[in-house]
Each structure stands twice: as C-alpha cells, then as structure tokens.
Symmetry: C2
Subunit: 425 residues, 2 copies
Amino acid sequence: MGKMKFEAGKAFAEHLDEKDELASFRNAFIISDPNLIYLDGNSLGRLPKATPAKIHKVIEEQWGHHLIKGWNADWYEAPSRIGEKIAKLAGAAPGQVLVSDSTSVNLFKLILAAMKLQPNRHRIVSDVFNFPSDLYILQGCVNLLGDSYKLDLVQSRDNITINQQDLLAAIDEDTAIVSLSHVAFKSGFIYDAEFITRHAHEKGALVLWDLCHSIGAVPVELDRWQADFAVGCTYKYLNGGPGSPAFLYVSARLQAKAISPIWGWFSQRAPFAFDLEYQPADGIRRFICSTPPILSLLAVESALDPLLEVGIQSIRRKSIKQTSYLIYLIDQILVPLGFKLGSPRDPDLRGSHVSIQHANAYQINQAMIREAMVVPDFREPDNIRLGLASLYTSYTEVWEAVERIKQIMIKELYRKYPAERAAVT
Amino acid sequence: MGKMKFEAGKAFAEHLDEKDELASFRNAFIISDPNLIYLDGNSLGRLPKATPAKIHKVIEEQWGHHLIKGWNADWYEAPSRIGEKIAKLAGAAPGQVLVSDSTSVNLFKLILAAMKLQPNRHRIVSDVFNFPSDLYILQGCVNLLGDSYKLDLVQSRDNITINQQDLLAAIDEDTAIVSLSHVAFKSGFIYDAEFITRHAHEKGALVLWDLCHSIGAVPVELDRWQADFAVGCTYKYLNGGPGSPAFLYVSARLQAKAISPIWGWFSQRAPFAFDLEYQPADGIRRFICSTPPILSLLAVESALDPLLEVGIQSIRRKSIKQTSYLIYLIDQILVPLGFKLGSPRDPDLRGSHVSIQHANAYQINQAMIREAMVVPDFREPDNIRLGLASLYTSYTEVWEAVERIKQIMIKELYRKYPAERAAVT
C-alpha cells in the first residue's frame, strides 16, 4: 500500500469517500440517523438491511406456519451451514467451524478439551491483554481442574503491545495450551498468529485463538496458521445482532481425539435415537451442545453476505487506510488537546479500532455520546475506542468524529458528566 | 374435579369448547392453518401473536436505531427480568430464577455446582425416564469429575411410571444430587416433587428438577418443595420460540456457597470494571454466563403474558380435563384399533401430553403429519406423543385428531411410509 499521505481538511475525507470502492456497501445497512457517527461496530455491528425481512420470515413462516417442521427444513443444519460461511472468513477448510453457544461457553469447552489432550501439562498461558471475559473462563477452568493447574499471564511492556518474545518465553514444557486474543480488545494490537502458533507447537503446547475482535475485520487463516482451536463472536464485525451465538473451530487434526466436557444432545451421534448412553458424533458436530437459539442464530446467516461479497482482503485494505487516516487526524488535532494514542502505529500490528487515551476519558466518552452524537466505547482506565467497521464507516465520519471530539475539548463539554463509573456501560 | 363423564361424538367436544373459560386465549396465538391440528406444543409452542411485533421493535428500534445503547436500556437486565416472570410460574420468590444459555448448559453448571457443595459424595441418581439429553450431561459431568464418580439410573417397573419407593431406595449417604425430570418426556409421568425432595434431603442429597415438560403446563412450587436447583426450557409450553434460551433456579439458601464452573463475565461482580480477576456476583446472577442471544431471549418475554394472565391453576384444570377426555377417546376408538395407552391413567400422575403406543408408531406418526394434518411427535421405540397445550388446544381438535388417526388406521394409510428411521426427526 506504500506510505499514505493525508490532509486534515474535510474535503480530503470526502475525496477519500469518492474514491472508496467499498462505499456502496454502506447501503447494505440500516442507517436510521445519518447524523449519528457510530464507532462501536466492534462491540455491536450495525443492523444489516437484510436482517428484518429474514427474521420476519423465520418467525411468521417457519415458526408460525411450519411449526416443529422448521427443525427439519432449515434449523437443524443451521449451526454447520452458518459455520461454513464463517469458515470462509477464517481461512478454514470445511468441517471445522460451527456456530454454538456463547464465546465464553465455547472457550470453556475447548480449553477443557485441550487440557484432556495434554494430561501431563498443567499450565495455561495467556496475556493481560486478553478479554477479561476469557481470563475469567480460564480461571474457572483452572479452579475446576484443581490445585496443580495454573494460569500465567504475560505482561505488556508498553501497555499497547505484547512483546512476542516475552510470550514465547512464557511457553514451556508444562504449558498445555496458549489462549490468546488475536486482536487485543483495548489497544487493537494484533498478534502474528502463525508465528506464535508455530513456536508454541515446537514446545508441544496447543494454541487457541479468540477471534472476537478480528473476524470480519482482519484476515484470519486458521488452517495456514495450524491453529488448534479458535472461538469468536458474531455480533461485532459480523453484524449478527445483540448476543448472537458464537462460533468455534477445532482443527480436523484434533477432532477424533478431542471431546467437549459438555455432552450435549445435539453433539450425540444420533440425537433422535434417544439412546441412554452418550456417543459423540464424528467431526466438528461433537462440539455443538444443544438446541440453538434460532432467531438469534439465523440473523447471523444473512448478515455474512455483504462481508463475503466484499472479501476480507478488500475490507482489510480499507480498514488500514481508515485507521491510518484516523491516527493522522489524532496526531494533528487530538494530541495537542491532551490525548495519547493507545494503539500501535504500525498498521500490521493493529486491528480495526484505534484507542485514544485521556485522563478524563470516561467523561469525554459520555459527552461524545450525549452532546456530539458520536458513539465510541470506553474501556478502563482511560481508553476511548474508536471502532471502524469498514463495511459501513465512511472517511467523512472519521473526520467528523475527530472534529466533534475537538469541539468537546475546546468547549470543555465533558466536565458536566460524572467521573464516577456506572454499574453498566 | 370429581369423576368426569365424556361422550364420544363431535357434538360433545363442541359443547366442551363452548363451556371452556380459556377458549378465548387461542386468539393470543397465530393459527395460520385452522385445519392443522398441532399437538406438539410440548416440543415447540405455537407463535404468540405479540411476538412478531415485539421482535420487530427489538430489531428495528432497539438494535437498528439505539444500537449499543440497547444494552443499557433494555437488554442487560432482561435475563433477570424475564427470570422473574418465569419465577411466578415456578413458585419461586424473587431473586432465584434467571434466563441463560440452554437447558443442557444450565444443567451442567448446576450439577457441577452441586458436586462441589457435596465434596464427600460421589453418586448422581437419576432415572431412565429422564431426558436422554439430561443423562448425557450427567454422564459428561461424571466423566469430567473422574473415576470415583458414578451415575445411577432407577428403572421403571411398568414402562410408564417410576415407582417413587424405588427412587428413594436408590438415594444413599453417597448420593450428592438427585437429578430428575418433573414430568417424563415420553409417558408424561409426573413425580411428587415435594415428596421426593423431602426424602432426598433426609439422606443429605441435593435435588435438581428439570421442568422442561412441566413449566407452563402443571403447577410448579420450587420454594414449597424446598428444591435446591431447577432448569427448564422456554420453547415448549412457554412458547418462547425455537431454541429460545433456558432458565435456571438456585435456591436462595444455596446461592452464597454455590458457584458455577463456567466463570462467565456476565456473572462477574462488576463486569464493566474489566478486572483481570473473577469475582462472582452476589445472588442468582452468579449463575448467568455471558452475552445472551437477545432476539431469542426477548421473544420469551411477551410470550409469558397470556400464561401469567390465565394462571397455572386454570391451565392445569383444563389440561387435566383435556387429557382425561383424550384418554377416554383413546379407550373408545384407538385401543380397538391396536393402540395402547402409554401414559398414566391417574391425572395426578400425568403432565399435559398423552402417549399412545403401536408397533407401527413410526409410520403412523408420518401418516398423521402428511395425510391427516395432525402434528404429534414420535419417540422411540413405539410412542406417539399427543401434546395438549391448553392455552390454545381446543376440545374439538382433540376429538378431530382421534378421528383422523382412526381413518389412517382403517384405510391403512401409514403403510406407504418407511419404517426406517430418518437421521433427523
């Protein structure tokens, strides 16, 4: 892509939008208020235009009219069918991905499956940049497994990245599995997953990648990386809707010997034989659990179409250009106003969101939402995340967001908001 | 209710409908084809009329327009809020029920929580009439816990009921938990849950009730029974929609000392503090796991309103009358055609479905669906379940269903359907 040159005026943003080959895909989403700049697609993706009609059909036609027959017609195979669509975004050959449960439950299943494959190893290695939600699951697994098990977290040296050598140094002969987030939720730091996986394997450790902040935003190549396991959610860059079910990946290499600790009936070899003894199905299906939430599940299916049509390489190109442009504007406009960049400058080390840091970040975040119609999200202690979902975020929105933040700072609009944290954010 | 007198003619069914005080609640459901007799509300409840508008609002207004703010406004508290509605049908005081995950995952969480509360006990007691899906979860728990743990299943003497003395005799000083289905999915046999719970407690065992086939159909009094744990689904008699998320109950007595093995971030004391160390929330919330599937979850909320308006006692009265009427017709019309009753005759021992048995049941079940527009379901080896959801099933439908089965038998219409089982049913 070469060195990018940007200018600070609005006309330049409009120029970038005019040249943007992906601009038309914004039309695939409901934009109910064009004045609202939504920079939180990394928490909850926008509503795809196809979704309301799809769910209307599921409710009225499949449930309302076909009733129980909906299971045979469309629902029973949906976890695998939608899994295969996600597999295309995850660089996974067929038969290795399915949609099931939540990210947390999937992580729990796969970590315990991994520990069982590694009976003589007792350590789980992760890092302090992993989702706290993932760390909680890992802590729960260690608690369940007993006192001889241990979770070790690699620290960050610069509070933005994890030094990959530090990570590799933490993996030893007792390490059963390395469980990492591909893109760090706070700084957006992105691991070289292939590099980490290869070196972990050299030490005999398995590797699990949490793709929540990368799937649909950056290229994921699970098969090429030789990843063992992966999990991810579908409600961020995949636009599946609030709390839509998660996905999991188990490498074909491991499927015959790995087993989920939750012996759910959908993972039974013949679920409708109603045998009294559990027999796991062959293949990836043994990692599903039980009856999936169909409305939330099928909303994922149509949401994936624009992403698959565009292709992840095109999205990544635009995303790098947009985050680079945003960092240029941050340097020009927000750093003089007291902000610090909280994300890597090297685009190869960065996902699709950019964090800015400020001592008053919690208050500024509230002012952005309530005064300026810009929706980012806040992450303790001082991070405001600006998520760019390149399928629908325009360059003009990026420019306008920075302009509005500038106004908040100049007019000190954030001062009227409390610094005390609310229970729910 | 006294001894009920029935007549075999259609006019009598119409007479019962005219006198039925609950008849108008059928209007709360979408009946897209009045000729279809749907007797599978015990697998997937009908679509409530309020649901499409509710989900339309969730998608277009909450997700599409409010975007991430939907979490604060309506979604975050939904698992507890909807749990409290279900609690009213479950005889549970506030703060003990929430909606989360699937029945299987909830069962897994609560069984492992129970085993941890009973460190010196190694047996789980259940019966052969429990859902195979529950037995698989119990087997998985035993497998996870190790070789010193054991699952024991009480047998049935008559293939319709479980002798309660047999069950009590199986509970000993090594029994950590008794895990039973309140209503058996195949025969409809209903346990005296209060009696079983009391005697299990006398032996120091905890008790978990699976309410999938009873909630919304028969009175459930978890607090009065002194139940320890319960799980249940919302897509059968609660009409929450295909795969809608399940609920769980943990007695207030146990909440402070019990803990879920799956340390999900929604169960964290302060989930948005993003602390790196898990600290379980107080109360029932520590048993939720993570981000719930909002579309499927909120469909449950409005679906509960007709049930709460009618009240479970009225539903039970009608259900007993309807299943008694159905058994009368089975005796009169279907037994002479080779069927056997597969459910208890005593209404106190019976939930809201009636099973009929026949050597050709698999074929007859197919003919009912394809030739006769009657939808029951088949359960191996020879059961056809006729589920009566008294909120919307009419007496005339009961009469008409038996009449249509009679025609299938007389004309031998079932013979053209294969006896070989399909993989999915």
